[in-house]
């Protein structure tokens, strides 16, 4: 179809038509569910949004790139289309239903086109209608593309956030730092843990580092290996590492799995690990004697 002789002309004609009729098309689209339910502040807002899409389509048509989802004309409305699709998705509509709503936008435009060209040659009218069909199909692809890439971006952003959020290094005492590990300890996470722990050891001049695994649901051989590597790295930095938060079920599992953590200092609770670190440094924490209590 794109190779057809009249194709560039029909595309230009379509562009000119869309430009002439932007007001009417905008008005009609404002009543379509896709615009009506997304731009709820006022009808004018929906009309303006509709006209913005018409302008973009006219621009694409004039450039003759009817089938090109990357046509520059779409650039101005890409964000708006993404927001519209996202709003419909949040309202519980499936991608197929949203695509259907986009396809429905063609009908009022076709009607206008036929009214305007009712005296023209049949072949010409048909070619224009075809061009419009191609253009709306491309619009549909653009909207689907923005939806998918928005979802991927969101997931990637959340993944990055998780990496940071879940690995705080806490300064428990002068020279004692602790990392409470939470969730799955995969290779990427354990790399972040190791880096932030080693940095904290340097910054805080820590002699003791506590890795608390209370929040790690499964300790398999890979997690154990990550722990051992982190402990070894901390040791190279001159800090002694203590692994705490080993629950009874985890302890039994590690033993059956056959992993030897014998070279690592381990404690059941974080409090025990801190007590060990303090004792090793000769720090004694004792309760304040109650006032009036006699010394025995």
């Amino acid at each position: 179809m794109a190779e057809h002789d009249t194709a560039p002309d029909t595309a230009k004609e379509l562009g000119a038509f869309l430009e002439r009729r932007r007001e009417q098309i905008g008005q009609r689209w404002a009543d379509a569910a896709l615009f009506r339910t997304v731009f709820t502040v006022s009808r004018d807002e929906a009309v303006e949004a509709g006209k913005a899409v018409v302008d973009a389509l006219a621009d694409v048509a004039r450039s003759g790139r009817l089938e090109d989802v990357d046509a520059p004309g779409f650039g101005t409305v890409r964000d708006q289309l993404g927001r519209m699709a996202a709003a419909r998705a949040r309202a519980g509509y499936t991608p197929v239903q949203i695509a259907g709503e986009v396809a429905d936008l063609r009908e009022p435009v076709t009607a206008l086109l036929q009214t305007e060209l009712q005296d023209a040659d049949d072949v010409w009218v048909h070619a224009c209608a075809q061009a419009l069909a191609v253009l709306t199909a491309t619009l549909r692809l653009v909207i689907m593309e923005t939806t998918v890439s928005a979802g991927e971006e969101l997931i990637e952003r959340q993944r990055q956030q998780l990496l940071e959020v879940a690995t705080p290094v806490i300064n428990l005492w002068d020279g004692v730092v602790a990392v409470p590990l939470i969730g799955t300890l995969d290779s990427a996470r354990s790399q972040v843990v190791m880096e932030s722990l080693l940095e904290a050891i340097v910054d805080q001049r820590a002699a003791y580092a506590i890795l608390d695994i209370t929040g790690v649901p499964t300790v398999d051989s890979l997690v154990a290996q990550h722990l051992m590597k982190t402990v070894a790295a901390a040791r190279l930095m001159g800090a002694e590492c203590i692994v705490s938060g080993i629950r009874p079920a985890i302890a039994q599992t590690i033993v059956h799995l056959g992993i030897d953590l014998g070279s690592i200092i381990t404690r059941a609770r974080l409090a025990d690990a801190l007590a060990y670190a303090l004792t090793q440094q000769g720090i004694v924490v004792s309760p304040r004697p109650a006032t009036g209590a006699s010394q025995r």
Binding site: T184, T218, L222, T253
Partner: protein
């Protein structure tokens, strides 16, 4: 292994994220069936090792999770299937500390110690299937170490 099958679930193993999903599914099913916390943890850990083996050495595959019932006693059978290169020497692969990768070499042998029944079927060039089964409260085998 003639116990009647109650239900079967299939979980894909294709990425690190899938491993987390495998662990969650196994933990949930084990908890629902009434496995105690130690049994749950052992089963989930064994599943994690075997699923990772299927991913790293077998290039991915799937886990088939089957709920078994023998009278009033329930069990869980997990099959880890991959279509990878297979295991050349099964006895060697079952040796503690032996690994072709960068791991500790405890996964396969460790997983066997964590569960009641363990079966390994591997054909070079065709793939590997590891099946493990465990029963709630240690049945049908005699109880050991019960208070």
């Amino acid at each position: 292994m003639h116990a009647p099958i109650v239900s079967t679930t299939r979980v894909p193993i294709g990425s690190d994220a899938d491993l987390a999903w495998v662990r969650q599914q196994v933990r949930q099913s084990a908890a629902d069936l009434g496995f105690n916390l130690v049994q749950q943890t052992k089963l989930v850990t064994a599943a994690s090792e075997l699923a990772r083996n299927a991913l790293v050495h077998g290039g991915g595959g799937h886990m088939e999770m089957t709920v078994l019932a023998e009278g009033a006693h329930h069990g869980l059978r997990l099959s880890f299937v991959d279509a990878g290169p297979g295991i050349g020497d099964v006895d060697l692969a079952m040796t503690d500390g032996w690994t072709t990768g960068n791991g500790l070499g405890m996964g396969l042998s460790g997983a066997k110690r964590l569960v009641r029944e363990f079966a390994l079927d591997s054909r070079p060039g065709e793939g590997t299937t590891v099946t493990i089964t465990d029963w709630v409260s240690g049945l049908p085998a005699p109880r050991t170490g019960a208070p």
